[in-house]
């Protein structure tokens, strides 16, 4: 069966510090991978998606970037965090571009 791992679960970072969140998927090949953010009082916002190694599409201009160095690895990064980057970050995968997406446990990021 397929599983998705996302870490860390919680993170507190100072403004201006870098960020790296990692997500890996097991039990499937060539998954579509996604990064979402849930900010306070808002729904889930798609940040990045990837249909293959090295292929990244950004949905929203922001202070973040994503990379896919391996087929089942998806990384969310920032060079300098802003206070507005605080939120709940979710990695997800799907076998096809959108029928059902399966989510990781999420990372609660607090920028102080």
């Amino acid at each position: 069966s397929q599983t998705i791992h996302q870490w860390p679960a919680t993170l507190v970072q100072p403004v201006g510090s870098p960020l790296s969140l990692e997500c890996t998927v097991e039990g499937t090949s060539n998954p579509n991978l996604y990064w979402y953010r849930q900010a306070a009082g808002r729904g889930l916002q798609l940040l990045f998606y990837s249909v293959g190694i090295g292929q990244i599409s950004s949905e929203v201009p922001q202070n973040l970037s994503a990379s896919r160095p391996q087929d089942r690895q998806f990384i969310l990064s920032s060079k300098k965090l802003l206070l507005s980057d605080s939120g709940f970050y979710l990695c997800a995968w799907s076998p096809l571009p959108y029928i059902e997406a399966f989510f990781g446990q999420g990372t609660r990021l607090t920028v102080v």
């Binding site: 679960a9 996604y34 889930l44 798609l46 998606y49 949905e59 059902e100 989510f103 446990q105 999420g106």
Partner: protein
């Protein structure tokens, strides 16, 4: 402009009764709709979906109804159980043209009272 709206931020229902969660959308290109359930500090889990060619899909205690003319869908949970207490997200997608944009509503927090 919010394309998927869940106008009720919260809902309280007595255990054993029916829970009805509503969702409206504005983009007529959406052709597939999903409901996700989310517990605090966890990722959402897929619950049930419906294609725009149908008006009803049922899975156990969960039924989703779609009214395309009204651009409205609803999730019915019968009977409601305390374990159903969670935030429910409605999501919509236009599956054509290789779209990857799954648009979520802001969620409705359901509380089932024992």
């Amino acid at each position: 402009d919010q394309q998927v709206k869940q106008n009720s931020p919260s809902l309280s229902v007595q255990e054993g009764r029916i829970s009805i969660l509503n969702c409206d959308y504005t983009n007529s290109m959406f052709d597939y709709f999903l409901w996700y359930k989310k517990y605090p500090a966890e990722g959402p889990t897929f619950l049930i979906s419906i294609s725009s060619i149908k008006d009803k899909n049922e899975d156990g205690r969960f039924t989703v109804f779609l009214n395309k003319s009204a651009k409205h869908l609803s999730l019915h949970i019968v009977p409601s159980q305390p374990g159903d207490s969670a935030v429910y997200f409605c999501a919509a997608v236009y599956s054509g043209a290789g779209s990857h944009q799954l648009t979520f509503g802001k969620g409705t927090k359901l509380s089932v009272i024992p």
